[in-house]
Amino acid sequence: MTAPSQTDPAPPGPSERSRRRPRIDDTDAAGLGRGRAAAFVAPALLLISIFLIFPALWTLYLGLTNWRLTGLAAVEPEFVGLDNYLDALTDPSFHNSLLLTLLFVFFSAVVGQSVLGFSLAWTTRRLRPSIRSLLETVVLLAWIIPASVIAFLWIALLSRHDGTLNALLGTEGTAWLLEYPMQSIIIFNIWNGTAFSMLLFSSALASVPPSQFETARMSGAGTLATLRDVVFPNIRGHILTNTLLITLWTFNVFTPYLITRGGPEGRSEILGVYIYRVALNEGALGRGAALSLIMILINLVIASVYLRLLRERKP
């Protein structure tokens, strides 16, 4: 999207144009001029700078202090150098959280949402419109209903004593959230987030030239061969986009906190939940800031890969 918009009229020769309307941009139909344009942009930039950019930069400093929520270090935080980072890197509960996050992102997003989303997009193409729209509606509902509501729906579903799942499976008394906390939030997140992959792959599949499907059908290719030779080569870009975006989002998800609160004993404490406990529950803000910075840097890596790919595809 770096390229000038396609609706821009072809610019006439620069010399001729600039003689008639000096110092005004080719497309500046309203005659804003650079000064007024800057004034229009300034309020948004100010707000973004204070509430988005400054906090990110501030973590660089905060992570080097022993700032605490209460007590003496809340009033006069001291500079402690790299202690927070060293503590984090040697803390088993941080390692635990990092590993759980990796499992969570890999199984719920990269595998779960991608595969289920693609299968749905692939299958629904050939379903009756009524069934297709019913299916799409429930998948979308799982995505748009507020997190604190769906969290309780899952608590009710998985409840030990009168949860619907136990009633259906005849496994009365199984405490899913205590015995299988990680599996539960992974399945939950697949349920919660598949809609995006489904939508993206639906539009990707619609962009595959129908003639190629026709050719595959004529030559007697089965489903697997069609997928391998026709579909995947055509939608490789979409697969990458989907994987990177849902990886980034899933990495930053906080909703599992509403279901398990990281427990029992930290067994479902993904990174966001861990930061919340360290910084805002236990009050170690400096330590939490160091962790925040680590998280922002990981986000930066994923997002830069994505943006690079995006630019390469739209030269």
């Binding site: 609706t7 309203a30 509430f51 990110a56 429930v138 009710a156 619907t164 803000l285 986000n299």
Partner: protein
């Protein structure tokens, strides 16, 4: 139809049935429990009653928190829409040096400085500004996070609106702000509507930001109040939780249906989060 083909069809329908059950099962409770005279956690055909909705009126925080959500959503949308319209218009019409880099950098920043990753510095910043436990603090943080995406999408809309009207308005001596208000905004209405709905959905469901920035129960939005209903001690009041969940979910579902009918949801699917 060969055996292999019919197996394929059967396989497809088994898959569809299974997925449909998987996605529907958790949602059923939301449809049955609010109308059940003795709601339990198990999904059951309700013994129909509307009595549960009395709990909403009787609870001191329920309706109030929904109103708080409306305030947060309205405040955030007002800021995002105004500032995004102004800046995306200027960025679309005037080639400020480094414009594209700016847009990309902002988009990059908003996707990496998420509420979860930046909860510590955000909390400290709002504390230092004395905005803890003020709804204004929540609105500003949310608006700051939503603005880059809003500008990015709106600029695309602005790029595709014709410029000829602006030229004629200018000939008649309209000022830039007048042109923006009376010429550009009406043309860009679908884009503005999309951004509004998107921003409302974001704010309506947001849990983390108000959860860490607000203290008093009477200022909490519905997302946080809902959480306190099922975590703060004692037997959860299922009549209250179920009816509240329903009332809290209806606005976003209704907006989804509206957008879907009016503009088609598919296209904007990617911008939900």
């Amino acid at each position: 139809m060969s055996v292999r083909q019919s197996l394929g069809v059967i396989g497809r329908y088994v898959f569809v049935a299974f997925v449909l059950a998987f996605f529907t099962l958790p949602l059923l409770w939301l449809a049955s429990a609010p109308f059940d005279s003795a709601p339990s956690l198990t999904v059951a055909w309700p013994e129909f009653t509307l009595q549960n909705f009395r709990e909403l009126v009787d609870n001191p925080y329920a309706l109030r928190s929904l109103w708080n959500s409306v305030i947060l959503a309205a405040g955030t949308v007002a800021i995002v829409l105004t500032l995004a319209a102004l800046s995306s218009y200027a960025l679309s019409r005037v080639r400020i040096p480094g414009r594209d880099t700016l847009l990309y950098t902002l988009l990059l920043l908003s996707s990496i400085v998420t509420g979860t990753a930046a909860m510590v510095p955000t909390f400290l910043l709002i504390s230092e500004l004395g905005l803890i436990d003020r709804q204004l603090g929540v609105v500003l943080v949310l608006a700051g996070g939503l603005l880059p995406t809003a500008i990015f999408i709106l600029k695309d809309f602005m790029d595709s609106t014709p410029r000829s009207y602006e030229e004629s308005a200018r000939v008649y001596g309209a000022s830039s702000l007048q042109i923006l208000r009376q010429v550009v905004v009406p043309i860009a209405r679908p884009g503005l509507a999309t951004i509004s709905v998107w921003a409302v959905v974001q704010v309506w469901g947001n849990f983390l930001v108000p959860f860490i920035l607000l203290r008093s129960a009477e200022k909490r939005p519905a997302a946080v109040t809902m959480f306190t209903f099922y975590t703060e001690g004692g037997q959860p009041n299922l009549a209250l939780i179920s009816t509240f969940s329903l009332l809290f979910s209806i606005p976003v579902v209704a907006m989804y249906l509206f957008v879907n009918r009016r503009y088609g949801f598919r296209f904007h699917g990617g911008i939900k989060r």
